[in-house]
Symmetry: C2
Subunit: 241 residues, 2 copies
């Protein structure tokens, strides 16, 4: 399962060092989910994951429980852990919550953004553009999500930051399941507009752009499927060992 273990050589210099093994595992899995290298419903065997990271089941279990708490994986008693498969209803709820919280966060971010932050965001946009140009879907998705997290960090509000982190993570799963046009990349047009508003300190504008961006994202989903179970079955068969 080399899908899970990311090469992890391509990090920004001086990047975060994981002194903690279990967060190393959970972050690795989280990244894999972000980049759609792990599909919803995939089974995460404790032994298997443990072998990949060279640790015992104890630590893997802790990491899985952590992810379960963010609803990224679901743990079924005596059956094991699986990448979560958000229901249509949960998908709706996630985007509804994002539409409430993230505009507020963007507003706050516009109020305290620094020039350094702007540069960082512009770098981010450039990376997004490059990933899209290169057709690297996984990287593009991951960057797109991280863009929202970066704004939350700029807002400098730990609680909102935590919420946004949870919502963006789950959105990644929702997109994997319900995105309408598999080829279409999430256009980063509104991201650019957002950075402009932020840079000018236009709180109201940033808030509005973020709201319409979230609504836009949501409109790219097909949440009218009747039986998620049908898809579930098909998916399950497709990926059956």
């Amino acid at each position: 399962m080399s899908i899970i273990a990311d090469s992890s050589g391509a990090r920004s210099p001086g990047s975060f060092r994981h002194h903690d093994k279990v967060s190393e595992i959970s972050e690795g899995l989280r990244r894999a989910i972000f980049e759609h290298r792990l599909a919803p419903g995939t089974k995460l065997s404790e032994d298997e994951v443990g072998e990949v990271y060279g640790v015992s089941r104890t630590l893997v279990r802790a990491a899985l429980q952590s992810l379960a708490h963010s609803d990224l994986v679901s743990i079924e008693k005596n059956r094991g852990a699986f990448i979560a498969r958000p229901s249509v209803r949960e998908a709706r709820e996630v985007f509804e919550a994002r539409a409430l919280i993230e505009p507020k966060v963007a507003n706050m971010a516009a109020g305290r953004i620094t020039q350094e932050n702007v540069l960082s965001l512009r770098d981010h946009l450039e990376a997004e553009h490059a990933a899209n140009a290169a057709g690297d879907k996984g990287a593009a998705l991951s960057l797109s999500g991280n863009f929202h997290l970066e704004i939350a960090d700029i807002a400098d509000h730990q609680v909102y930051s935590q919420f946004v982190r949870m919502l963006v993570s789950r959105s990644s799963l929702v997109i994997a399941l319900y995105w309408k046009r598999p080829d279409t990349t999430c256009e980063s047009h509104s991201h650019m507009a957002l950075v402009s508003a932020l840079e000018q300190g236009d709180q109201q504008g940033a808030e509005e752009i973020m709201l319409s961006h979230i609504i836009d994202l949501r409109s790219g989903l097909d949440l009218n499927q009747k039986a998620s179970s049908e898809l579930s079955l098909a998916e399950a068969l497709q990926r059956g060992k």
Copy 2:
């Protein structure tokens, strides 16, 4: 430490059965925190907790990690788990988030509340009143928090419900640390007004009442303390073994 193990005989009939030992532990601890039987900063030794619940450290550890993820306890590497001690900043953030989310939740709840729900809420109010009258501070606090959770459940929105649960839990710690007048009970006046608005399906009204209630709650806190560390020391000495 009989403080932790609640008698748990006084549950409503047909109440929730914990098939899961670790959630039994974490819920027990959570309740103890809710009712201020466990003060912020208290150390939660794995052995000690395990002995109380008659399980090994493995399960205790899982429960503590679960609570840590909700920021109810903080785990320090190689030092152990402690009941969290929210900073002034976090206290502000928690109530800011509540002021954003809970009014929205109240609005939704007003839109789909049933007669059964209303009766349940009224029961709740009565219990609150009784606890206040009896001077049972712990029960009153716990009930007051659960009132908000019950409204979130009525709104029937899992994501918001989860957020409210986290915020209310943390609020309990914030109140333990920063409440201005230790004797004053959180008056349940606004709770009554809230139930009335909900019952009438007055979404706008419920939303507004909830917002002012949250603001009111926040105004009962003293968040101007300079050094939380000073209080920390005092508290530590007071409770020092």
